[in-house]
């Protein structure tokens, strides 16, 4: 998907890097198990991060064959968190394809985006059936985002907040009331970060192609200080989560990985 929420590899222990890869491979393996081989393309770093936030003691590491890595076997992390992340990845992936159809040019739309969306429809229906509330939320919020884009909304903060509401809905999957509150706010901060980082990344290309970008229309907006403030919020929220298997990696992502993405 967006790939901004990643660890800062130079400061990651090898053991933590392998555990992170296991979470990523676990998502891939779960996508294949639930939705077929082609669904593996929905694997993404954002929901790998989500798995690490949710993971609890009942999970385990399994060895499975990895088609993307020759004949090697990879360690895959499996558990309830991976199952939820796989379902939500399909829902997000399908909705992104739906949006891409609006934005893409003719050849890409005809040969790539539309066929992919049609092929994913069955998987999407299955995932949306299990997670009705999340699927409805995502559709409505992305529709609202598209309307704001068409109307050339000038507030970058408002746009970021609407997008963040999509991710923060996944905070409902926490176990306790307290955990749900923390996850919702943390994912809200992460959602705002992703939106503004993506906008900043696409700024030059959007300016050339006259596409909507909130940073073009909101001239008063200081993206860097907003991103730094939001990253600090996300880190403060992370400290309120109970310590888990992936706490070291999550700390690296929040204190080093995200600031590194902001500086780039």
């Amino acid at each position: 998907m967006y790939g901004y929420i990643r660890p800062f590899k130079p400061e990651l222990k090898i053991r933590e890097w392998e555990t992170y890869q296991a979470a990523y491979c676990g998502l891939c393996a779960e996508l294949k198990r639930r939705y077929g081989f082609a669904a593996r393309f929905a694997v993404n770093y954002d929901f790998t991060f989500f798995i690490m936030l949710l993971a609890k003691g009942e999970s385990e590491f399994k060895r499975m064959r990895c088609p993307g890595n020759g004949r090697k076997k990879a360690h895959c992390f499996a558990g309830k968190a991976t199952e939820i992340a796989a379902d939500l990845s399909i829902i997000m992936g399908w909705n992104r394809l739906r949006d891409s159809i609006e934005d893409d040019g003719f050849p890409r739309k005809l040969f790539i985006t539309r066929p992919a969306k049609v092929l994913m429809k069955r998987q999407y229906r299955h995932a949306a059936n299990v997670h009705k509330k999340f699927a409805n939320n995502v559709s409505e919020l992305l529709d609202e985002l598209r309307d704001l884009e068409h109307n050339r909304e000038s507030s970058a903060v408002k746009m970021a907040q609407v997008f963040a509401n999509v991710l923060s809905a996944a905070g409902e999957y926490g176990d306790s009331n307290e955990e749900r509150r923390v996850l919702t706010h943390l994912l809200d901060a992460i959602g705002r970060l992703i939106y503004i980082l993506d906008a900043a990344d696409d700024l030059e290309a959007d300016r050339k192609k006259c596409r909507y970008n909130p940073l073009i229309y909101d001239s008063q907006f200081d993206a860097k200080s907003y991103l730094e403030k939001t990253a600090a919020e996300a880190a403060a929220d992370f400290e309120l989560l109970p310590p888990g298997e992936f706490s070291g990696i999550l700390g690296n992502i929040l204190y080093l990985g995200i600031p590194s993405a902001i500086n780039k």
């Binding site: 307290e178 509150r181 923390v182 706010h185 919020e233 403060a236 400290e239 309120l240």
Partner: protein, 132 residues
């Protein structure tokens, strides 16, 4: 409160300096200024309260005003004279971590009683018999 040492993330054998450092780090992390515009400020406040209570309790334990976690009422006055690296736990004096539990009638006992054999054992590289 369960274990105040676990709340601060230190071992029971930690020095006073280590405990103070852990306390300061946690206070910096959960300080109300970090949660000023954050709806989770109440959770951070709760965490701060826990940390302060844990630190105060450890201070009281180390002054001998309270038994350590897992201690009992009889040991209330005993702990005042314990060395910090003992963690306040009573250990039978013959238990030696280096040699394992005490054994009476084996080669280890020969080494201990006849120190010459003990030296030979060492010269041969040590570890010939478990106690060396």
């Amino acid at each position: 409160m369960n274990d105040p040492y676990a709340v601060l993330g230190v071992s029971q054998n930690a020095t006073d300096e280590e405990i103070k450092r852990a306390y300061r780090e946690l206070v910096r992390k959960y300080h109300p200024d970090n949660y000023r515009d954050n709806p989770l400020g109440d959770l951070a406040e709760q965490k701060m309260k826990e940390i302060n209570e844990a630190y105060d309790k450890i201070q009281r334990i180390r002054r001998g005003e309270e038994p350590p976690p897992g201690g009992n009422a009889h040991s209330n006055g005993y702990y005042q004279n314990q060395q910090p690296n003992n963690g306040g736990y009573y250990r039978p004096p013959q238990y030696n971590y280096n040699s394992g539990p005490p054994r009476q009638n084996d080669a280890c006992d020969c080494c201990v009683k006849l120190w010459a054999l003990d030296c030979c054992c060492e010269c041969m590289g040590g570890d010939l018999i478990r106690c060396c």
